[in-house]
């Protein structure tokens, strides 16, 4: 995984004493490029004389809904991963949790090695029954109702799928904190908790964020498969295109998926830039 490689960048990149616009040029330009590509594609699409079938598969309404679903799946699954993986990663690097690190990483590795489709099917088999028995359970009555059971199940599956990068980067980020810095903190009378919050976590942030960015990109891509279990998303457009043998529809779904993935990656990059502690 390339995510951990960014950990060494601050160390080897040398002192970055003065901010120069060139550092952030890529970050500033990217959204404009993405918007320009989107506008160009939509213009081109509007100029096409599409068959009735194709046109009805990619109406503005449908595409907007699908994009929104895709974003919802990505956001919720990444949020879920954050809530699970970061505390877990912290726990597994504490003196009392270290011995569970090996097994936990093995499970997380397995989660990512299972083919995404398989994971979705397993999730459907397990969770589908929960959501299937409607009316009488809280899950179905709340989020199932609001978002659709397929989408919720997709989110659960993607959480399992994307735990690894965040879990591992949280652990690596915390492990690479200079032991002398921790020793100094404890030696001055900081409690373990203060050392964690004021020293270890801030210093681990760049590596952790690299993991978050990886998870985001995995999830936005995988969300395209959510249509398989009725979760919606841009996969729906792609499938329609294939079923109707309309290449324009397939390409439209594909282009939007790609642009969305690049945008999400950009959001991750901006977060990394803003949240990275100064002085590193």
């Amino acid at each position: 995984m390339t995510a951990t490689a960014t950990a060494s960048d601050p160390a080897t990149g040398g002192p970055r004493d003065r901010w120069s616009p060139r550092d952030d040029l890529g970050l500033v330009v990217t959204p404009f490029v993405l918007l320009a590509v989107l506008a160009a594609y939509l213009t081109w699409l509007g100029a096409q004389d599409l068959p009735q079938q194709a046109a009805s598969a990619i109406t503005g309404d449908k595409l907007l809904t699908q994009t929104r679903e895709q974003i919802t799946i990505t956001a919720l699954s990444t949020l879920g991963v954050l809530v699970i993986a970061i505390p877990l990663g912290i726990a597994l690097t504490r003196p009392w949790g270290k011995r569970f690190a090996g097994p936990a990483l093995a499970v997380a590795n397995a989660g990512q090695s299972i083919p995404a489709f398989g994971l979705l099917v397993i999730a459907l088999a397990v969770l589908g029954r929960v959501f299937g028995r409607a009316q009488d359970n809280i899950l179905q009555n709340t989020i199932g109702e609001a978002l659709g059971p397929g989408l919720v199940i997709s989110v659960f599956a993607l959480i399992l799928f994307a735990i690894l990068p965040i879990l591992r980067n949280t652990m690596v980020g915390l492990q690479q904190v200079d032991p002398d810095v921790i020793e100094a903190g404890l030696g001055m009378g900081m409690t373990r908790r203060e050392v964690l919050w004021r020293i270890e976590l801030p210093l681990a942030v760049p590596v952790m964020l690299a993991g978050v960015r990886t998870a985001l990109v995995i999830n936005v891509g995988m969300a395209t498969l959510a249509f398989l279990i009725g979760g919606g998303g841009l996969g729906v457009a792609i499938r329609s295109g294939i079923q109707l043998a309309q290449n324009v529809v397939v390409v439209t779904g594909g282009v939007l998926t790609a642009l969305l993935a690049l945008s999400v990656d950009w959001v991750g990059a901006v977060a990394e830039r803003i949240l990275r502690p100064k002085g590193l």
């Binding site: 002192p15 004493d17 200079d178 002398d180 810095v181 921790i182 020793e183 100094a184 903190g185 404890l186 030696g187 001055m188 009378g189 900081m190 409690t191 203060e194 020293i199 801030p202 210093l203 502690p277 100064k278 002085g279 590193l280």
Partner: protein
């Protein structure tokens, strides 16, 4: 609380990592006096760092008592204890994501000082360690050199004005020149702040330079000898200490005596450079000395002349320019070691002593140095004989 009460007392402190293995620190009892620098020195693995970390309970003792300023702190909250003790480690451990000011303000922040007081204190400390606050306050640790980082480490340890500082090879990770400068700066700082300091090093020369007292530790942190540097150098109690302080210990002892404390000899006649050769020759002949000293018009030693030099030319000419230049010259506050060095470099058996203004005050002879060494040894031996007699 009296000044005679030790600042720190270790009372039979022991650290065992397992029941079967020998202890890392074996029943150590030790007093650290108020305002002194006590150096723990010993070979690698003798437990000196462990001992230091037992004091602020970074390592919890297996048994024994730690008394801090009259208070038994063996079982109090370790974090409270550590906030009362400055702690400097070899690799410093500055927080890389915090500015220098934030680093220095760590303990005051933990103690809940208000912002104004913290920033005032921070600036004061940066000044104290010789870093201009307006330049360094907002910098990050990566922008500092090793020596500067070490100064910030010391400032951080002093932040809440703790009565005690623990220093674990604080100058071990910097180059020899910087180390020497940091040592000197630190000694000057200590003159001002008068902390009680426990200082760990494996370098006996550093121990001799920094310590008011030195504890030489052997395996399991057993104290082999605990005394002032000069007494340890003059009288190592056993072969272990003798081996550890190494060859040249006698010479090192000369660092502790100063030229001004000696009775300087005035056996050599001295004249101004405007004096005539004939008069000087007569003066030299009347004395027991083989040389006379020529001073310039401000009384500063210039040259040595002997009878042969003076016999040249017309006796009415002045002595200016005759004879070899004076090379071995030391000030009164130089150590005897400096004096010896001057003698050796000039291959003379004596060194000329001058005052601050450079004016001649007398001559120190190499025999006086050997006499001092003999006296130091005799005194140290007598001291230990007295101790043994009492025991």
């Amino acid at each position: 609380m009296s000044d005679h009460q030790p600042m720190i007392t270790l009372d039979g402190v022991e650290k065992r990592y397992s029941e079967d293995a020998p202890p890392a620190v074996e029943r150590l009892s030790l007093d650290v006096h108020r305002g002194e620098i006590l150096v723990l020195v010993g070979p690698s693995g003798c437990g000196k760092s462990t001992t230091l970390r037992l004091i602020n309970r970074m390592i919890e003792p297996t048994s024994g008592r730690i008394v801090f300023d009259g208070e038994d702190v063996t079982h109090i909250d370790a974090n409270d204890l550590r906030r009362r003790i400055g702690y400097v480690i070899q690799r410093i451990g500055l927080f890389p994501h915090q500015t220098i000011a934030e680093n220095v303000g760590t303990v005051p922040r933990l103690l809940g000082w208000d912002r104004g007081r913290i920033s005032e204190r921070t600036d004061e400390l940066l000044d104290l360690v010789g870093l201009d606050p307006s330049l360094y306050r907002d910098r990050y640790p990566k922008e500092l050199s090793g020596g500067q980082a070490q100064r910030v480490g010391v400032a951080r340890a002093l932040a809440a004005d703790p009565p005690v500082m623990l220093m674990d090879e604080p100058f071990g990770a910097v180059d020899p020149i910087t180390r020497d400068r940091l040592q000197n700066e630190f000694l000057r700082l200590q003159e001002e702040v008068r902390k009680t300091i426990v200082f760990v090093t494996h370098d006996i020369d550093e121990a001799i330079k920094m310590g008011d007292r030195i504890a030489i530790l052997r395996e399991r942190s057993v104290v082999a000898q605990l005394d002032t540097p000069s007494r340890i150098l003059a009288y190592p109690v056993d072969d272990f200490v003798d081996d550890f302080i190494g060859s040249g210990s006698t010479l090192k002892g000369l660092h502790f005596e100063r030229v001004r404390d000696l009775e300087l000899s005035n056996d050599y006649p001295f004249v101004r450079s405007s004096e005539s050769r004939g008069d000087t020759r007569r003066l030299l002949a009347d004395s027991d000395a083989r040389f006379a000293l020529v001073l310039d018009e401000r009384g500063r030693p210039e040259r040595w002349v002997d009878d042969e030099d003076l016999s040249r030319g017309d006796p009415s000419e002045t002595v200016a320019g005759l004879g070899p230049k004076v090379i071995a010259m030391v000030e009164g506050n130089a150590t005897l070691h400096d004096a010896l060095e001057a003698m050796i470099t000039s291959s003379a058996g004596q060194a000329v002593v001058v005052g601050r203004d450079g004016a001649y005050t007398g001559v120190v002879q190499i025999e006086q140095l050997t006499e001092v060494i003999r006296r130091m040894r005799a005194e140290a031996k007598a001291h230990y004989d007295r101790l043994r007699g009492r025991a």
